[in-house]
Each structure stands twice: as C-alpha cells, then as structure tokens.
C-alpha cells in the first residue's frame, strides 16, 4: 500500500495534528461545557465506555465483514476480572486491566481457532453460543459471583509511581474513560492504516485476490478477531468500576444490539462512526427515554430501518443527498 499512497505534506500533517489535539481538548472539557453536573459526567463517561465497547465489534464488522455476536463475552470478562481481582485480592487497576487483556486474548484465540473454518452465520452463531455458555457458567458458579454477581467493587486505583489516581466518583472516572477512548481511537486509526487492516479489507472484498497476493485469509481473520477482544474487554473493565457491581446481566442482548447498532447507524469503516452512533443512542435512552420496552422497539427499529433503507448508514444517506443536489 505504501507504494500507492503519497506521504502527506508536512504542513498538512501539522494541521491535522493541531485539529486532533483541539478535538481531544474540547472532548475532555465536554462535561464542563454541558454544565459540569454529575448527570453530564455520568452520561459522557457511559458514552466513552460504551464507545470503546463498540469499537471491538466495529473492527470485526467493518474490516472482516463478519458479525460477532460473542463480544458480550469479552465485555463480561473485563467486568468479572475487575470485580473478582479487586474485591478478593485488593489489587489495583493496572493489574485488573492486564488480567482483562490476557484473558480476553486467550478466550478470543480459542474461539477464533475453533471458528476458523466457519463463515458468516455459523461464525455468528458459534460466537453467540459461546456467550450463552459463558452466561450459564457465570450464573451458576458462585465462586465468581453466581446469579447475584459481585457487589461493592471499590473505587478504581491507578498508581503512577509518585502519584496515585483514584476514580471514586463519576467526575474522577471521566478522565480515565476519556483516556481509554482516545487510546482506542488511536489504536483503531493505526489499525486502519496497518498491514493487517488493509489485508483484512482485501480478504473481505476479494478473497481470491488476497490469497494470490500471499495473504492467508484465515490468519488475518484470526488476528483481527483476537485483537478486537481486549478492546471490548477493557470497556467492560471500566464499566465494572463505574457501576461498582457486576453480574450476569452483562451478557444481555441489549449490549450486543447497542454495539451493532452504533456501528451500522453512522456507517461502517468510519473512524468516529461508532462513537457518534453510541452517543446518539445513549442520549436517546438517558434523556428522551420512553421506558424500557419502547426503547427496545426504537433501538430495533433504528437497526432495521438503517440497514433496509440506507445500508451504508447515515453517512451514505448524507452523501447521496449531497450528490443528488449537485
């Protein structure tokens, strides 16, 4: 790919870097701009955490073209790792985060290897079934929480050598959630330009061409699936500290539908798409809620309407409108 792409001119990359920094700084002060209330902090923290959760599904859906229905498993792994390790052994946030990443990588590698030869709906069904089995285990195994889950997770502690960071309230958790979101965005942006990202896209668009160029489709699929897992896992890790509780409800279809809807709503393969999508969905549920059952109907309808009428998402719709006018 490097042969085709011309390196961006220095002035352009300076401008881009400035724009990114400006966006990041504005993003950081967003809760203040919305009044600095605890509702503003908790809503934006939730959006940041859920956005990270969605990016795990995003890279599988956008770049592999596969629907993973098992990412609630990684989401729950993060939550359960944080809860169990911090409550039982009193370890700090770094340890639980590392444990989350490690367990997610192992679980995703196992699932990935098993489903290596399956495609499309068999892949989706097997990933879904994996989440159902994990739910059954989490529900029945009292040692990791059982049906009651784990209550009273202590505040997140992240010691930095000299200082220690603690996230007891929503205001204090916001910087962590925002940092995690920025890290994820940076990672996704890098992934899109990496060899793996371009290979994955090629495997999805034209497997025969990819193979003839010496790309092994199975290895690419496995690699993308495995790196997607810790992203969703880390979101679940932070969610456990935010809610101070984890339970089998982390496996609910709600999270799965949120992940998929946020990706398709704006359009696949758009860096900020899942973030904007999840922000819209959470704003509707928190600020314009019509009650649980109606929210389900709305969420489901958004998914159906977008895919049936505007398969390339709101961005595609916008482009079509602009093109029609010119």
């Amino acid at each position: 790919m490097s042969v085709i792409e011309t390196p961006p001119s220095p002035s352009l990359s300076v401008m881009r870097a400035t724009a990114i920094v400006a966006l990041a700084v504005t993003g950081f002060f967003l809760p203040k701009l919305f009044g600095g209330t605890s509702v503003a902090y908790s809503t934006l923290t939730t959006i940041a955490i859920f956005a990270v959760m969605c990016y795990g599904v995003d890279i599988v859906l956008s770049y592999l073209g596969e629907v993973s229905l098992g990412h609630t498993l990684f989401w729950a792994i993060g939550g359960y790792a944080a809860a169990n390790l911090s409550v039982k052994y009193g370890v700090n946030g770094w340890v639980t985060a590392l444990a989350t990443i490690a367990i997610c990588l192992v679980a995703a590698a196992f699932l990935g290897v098993v489903t290596l030869r399956t495609r499309e709906f068999v892949f989706s069904l097997v990933t879904y079934a994996a989440a159902v089995v994990a739910y059954e285990i989490a529900f029945n195994w009292d040692a990791i929480g059982g049906s009651d889950g784990i209550v009273g997770i202590s505040a997140l502690k992240l010691p930095f050598g000299f200082a220690s960071f603690s996230g007891a309230s929503q205001e204090e958790l916001w910087p962590v959630a925002f940092a995690l979101l920025l890290l994820t965005l940076g990672f996704i942006a890098r992934f899109r330009r990496s060899k793996l990202g371009t290979s994955a896209l090629m495997v999805q668009m034209n497997p025969a061409l990819a193979t003839s160029l010496g790309i092994d489709p199975r290895r690419v699929r496995l690699a993308v699936f495995v790196i997607s897992a810790p992203i969703t896992g880390l979101a679940g890790w932070l969610y456990a500290y935010q809610r101070a509780y984890v339970g089998p409800d982390m496996f609910e279809t709600y999270f799965l539908v949120m992940m998929l809807t946020s990706v398709v709503l704006i359009g696949r393969r758009i860096l900020l798409g899942p973030l904007i999508g999840i922000a819209i969905l959470i704003a509707q549920q928190n600020l314009l809620s019509l009650g649980g059952d109606w929210n389900k109907i709305i969420l489901g309808s958004v998914l159906v309407v977008v895919l049936v009428f505007w398969p390339s998402g709101l961005v595609g719709l916008f482009r079509r409108l602009v093109n029609n006018r010119s």
């Binding site: 073209g65 098993v114 097997v126 079934a129 029945n140 049936v308």
Partner: protein
C-alpha cells in the same frame, strides 16, 4: 434414575428441539436465509396461543391455528421489509436486521402481553402416562408424533413435488431461477411464512412444558441452532436425527453429570464437531 426413563426424557426433549428447529432448517437449507429473531418468534407463538386460550377462550387446537395464522402474517410483513437484502443475498446485513426485528418483537410483546411469566394451559401436559416405572405426558406423545409427521411431510414436499424443486432452484441461484420464469420473491416470501408458522406450531406444542416470558429470546431456542448445525445445515433428516440425539445427550448429561451445565455441554459437543467436521454430521 434408571436408564430407560432417561431415554424417554431424551426423546421428549429431543423431539421438542427438532420440532422448533424445523422452520429454521428449511429457511437455512432451502433459502439460505438466517433468522436471529427465531427465539422471539417462538416466544410470540407461545404467547399468541396463550392469549387466544385464556382471553378469547379458544380451545387448544383452534388457538394453535390462530398462532400459526398470526405468525404467517407477521412473517410476510418481516420478509417484505427484508426483501431487498434477501434478493441481493446480503447475509451480513440480514443477520443484523433479524436481530433488530427480534428486539422489536420482544419490546412489542412486553407492551402487549405484560412482563409476568405465564403458563400455557395445556390439558395434555397434566395427563400422565405410566408404564411400569416409566412416565411421560400425553403432550410429550403429541410433540413426538407431530414432529415425526411434520418432518415426513416436509421431506416429501421438498423432495417429491414440483414446488420443492422450484424452492431448491431458487436456493441454488435466485437470478438464474428468475430467468426460468420462477418468481424468486414469492418463493422467499412463502418459505419465510412457512418458517414463522412452523415455529408457531412448535411453540404451541412445546411451550406448555415450562413457564413463558416475553423476555425469553434466543437463549430459549439456542439448542435448535445446535440441532441445525449438527444436522448439517438444511438437511431435513439430519436435523431430526440431531434433535433426537441431542435430546438423549442432554437427558443423560443432566441426570448423571450436572443439570446446570447442560447448555455448556451441548455447546462443547458442537465445538468439537466443528473442529472435526465443519460441514456438520450429515455432510458426505
């Protein structure tokens, strides 16, 4: 626990799995369509039957017909909405759309039927049959007989009639089939309506065994997916055998190993099979 009773339990469970899996097997095998709203359709079939019996005082057989008709109409509406994606065989989007449809059905049913668990009043579920130390209910007999009859009828229909070969032609290549004067849209519509009414029938027969909730979704029918994949996707005979075999496996595993982990065990079985034979048991 004696072994003969576990074999009976296994057949009872397995015929239930096979019964609910029938619509999906046809849909997947014949039309290559996926439907992740299957669980919610099962829920809806059970609730329509329940509503028709308790609120309108319909007798059980009439309520079953009502559920079949209601879901066939719903199926036609759903398929109408998805038709563009079906014709272009956009499987990824179809999977997500059916997931969204299931979510709509779940929210809508909770609004209509309420959030409380209900029991489908099946008189046959209380009519026990005892043979020596063995026991089962007449409802179980009904499920087994109905399942065998349905599978037989569907097999004859798809393999031995003109319409069966039309369906298979569309499954093979919708564009080519249209060149031969087959209206692929009508075929897809009918197959999807069949899947919905088959799952309504399955729900009306199987659901009296346990309480029903509007929140029961795909998890409730996760075993049917194991049946469909184990049986070799779209193989009618394979699905029947896989259903009965899985029922026996679950009955014995639940009785002798651990009742709480039966789904996990069934899934482990499936994973092992996917590694050894990715195309399923029935594949040659």
């Amino acid at each position: 626990m004696n072994i003969a009773q576990q074999i009976v339990n296994g057949l009872v469970l397995g015929s239930g799995y096979a019964c609910i899996a029938l619509g999906w097997t046809i849909l997947l095998g014949v039309a290559r369509l996926v439907n992740f709203a299957h669980g919610q359709l099962y829920m809806l079939g059970a609730f329509v039957t329940w509503y028709a019996m308790t609120r309108w005082g319909m007798p059980y057989p009439v309520a079953i017909v009502a559920a079949i008709v209601a879901l066939a109409i719903l199926g036609a509406v759903m398929q109408r909405a998805m038709m563009g994606l079906v014709i272009s065989q956009n499987l990824t989007s179809l999977m997500i759309v059916t997931l969204g449809l299931g979510y709509i059905l779940q929210g809508g049913s909770a609004l209509i039927f309420g959030g409380n668990p209900q029991t489908l009043p099946g008189t046959l579920s209380h009519a026990k049959v005892e043979l020596g130390s063995l026991w089962f209910t007449w409802q179980d007999v009904l499920v087994l007989v109905a399942t065998l009859l349905l599978y037989g009828a569907v097999w004859l229909f798809t393999q031995r009639t003109r319409f069966g070969s039309v369906i298979r032609a569309v499954a093979e290549d919708p564009k080519l089939a249209e060149l031969f004067g087959i209206n692929a849209r009508v075929v897809y519509l009918l197959v999807f309506m069949f899947e919905c009414s088959a799952v309504a029938l399955g729900a009306a027969l199987v659901a009296p065994r346990s309480p029903i909730l509007t929140s029961m979704g795909f998890n409730e029918v996760i075993m049917t997916f194991v049946v469909v994949v184990l049986g070799g996707i779209g193989s009618i005979g394979g699905a029947l055998l896989a259903g009965l075999g899985l029922g026996l496996f679950i009955a014995f595993f639940g009785a002798y190993v651990a009742q709480a982990y039966t789904t996990a065990a069934a899934f482990a079985l499936l994973l092992a099979l996917l590694v050894i034979r990715p195309a399923g048991l029935a594949a040659k």
